[in-house]
Amino acid sequence: MDIIGQAFTPHRAQLSGAKTVPETYKRYFHRGISVKTIELPNSTSTTTTARRAEHTNLAAAAGGERDQLTSFEVHMASSTTDAADDRIPRIASTIRVIQDFPKPGIQFQDITTLLLDPRAFKDAIDLFVERYKDQNINVVAGIEARGFIFGPPIALAMGAKFVPMRKPKKLPGEVISEEYSLEYGTDKMEMHVGAVQSGERALVVDDLIATGGTLSAAIRLLERVGVHVVECACVIELPELKGRDRLGDKPLFVLIS
């Protein structure tokens, strides 16, 4: 398992271990977006985790970028990282932050700009497929609607079925539903009866985990029919919202935190 995967697997012992390791942060600016690099002291390689951009200014791909980009590239070249470390900062750099959407105070992580970069989009899918391809996954469940963008390519690459988890009244056949809470009120998620079988091994995929409400509803729906949810996989995590805790004992894998 690559280092990035380990850094984000929430086994309690590993998490507390990671917290006691002193970390050096270096900040690079790549295309105007701030990217942090974590250097673990005892490793010969550099683990790169991309932090969410606090401010996006795509127009600031100006003169200064060349020097900054060079220092970024030199750093990567001098490390003994495996290919995964090069891919993640690049993926992170394609994500756009939109201020005050859908309401004031919220910084929306927009993955549509990732989808406009074929190489970055392919790398994101590859990172998930590499992680899961030998884990006998039969089912990829994707959460409406952005989970429908990432889930099917992963399912196709792994020989798994794709199961859409949808808002109420969208699925035409017989469904089972699970209620989950929102900031104000509740919503419901539905899955077709017969889409999955007891004993199947599943991933749940979405673009982003915030509070973990929708992901935990999806887990419950699948578990109710006897499916083993192996892991939840998202491109982005908003750790301050503690969605990971809401998943209970289910592990979470993310590319960007």
Partner: protein, 192 residues
């Protein structure tokens, strides 16, 4: 045009695709025989064949944009985009896309709806295909074509897994753009 009349006559994959689609009668309302593609997505081989047919068609046509219509177009479009090295552009219901958008209204049977696209998703001169699971009247696809053309992209073709009879010969509803369809709708064969 249907795939069977356009190079794939007798291709067994088409029959398997048709067989994998489930018909739900009277959804969302009485009289409508809903063509449910979720059963196709459960069959890995058939799902892969569906994507491969579109990929084989578009991979040498210099396509740089695959636009998918929310939400079932999202289930097919990205895989096609990835395989041909194109960008994927989601076309969404109002209020979903967070950045600056352009909108196009279109007619429903009763009332209107609206489709949106991020303004910076496509560049002038890019060649695009539009993907959805099914075409009926062509209203949504027409709106999609207008969105792409308003940003001066060239819509090369629209592609759907299923084409209802109303879509046949209705080139004018699709603004003169060709329409490529894999299968006709299935008949409802009774409850299993």
């Amino acid at each position: 045009m249907f795939a069977a009349e356009n190079g794939l006559k007798g291709d067994p994959r088409l029959q398997a695709i048709s067989d994998a689609i489930r018909v739900i009668p009277h959804f969302p309302k009485p009289g409508i025989m809903f063509q449910d593609i979720t059963t196709l997505l459960l069959n890995h081989k058939v799902f892969k064949d569906t994507v491969d047919i579109f990929v084989d068609r578009y991979k040498d046509m210099d396509i740089s944009v695959v636009a998918g219509i929310e939400a079932r177009g999202f289930m097919f479009g990205p895989s096609i985009a990835l395989a041909i090295g194109a960008k994927f552009v989601p076309l969404r219901k109002p209020g979903k896309l967070p950045g600056d958008v352009i909108s196009e209204a279109y007619e429903l049977e009763y009332g209107k709806d609206c489709l949106e696209m991020h303004i910076d998703a496509v560049q002038r001169g890019e060649r695009a295909v539009v993907i959805d699971d099914l075409v009926a009247t062509g209203g949504t696809l027409s709106a999609a074509i207008k969105l792409l053309e308003s940003m001066e992209a060239e819509v090369v073709e629209c592609a759907c897994v299923i084409g209802l009879p109303e879509a046949k010969g209705r080139q004018s509803r699709l603004n003169g753009k060709p329409l490529y369809i894999l299968v006709e709708p299935r008949e409802f064969e009774g409850y299993c």
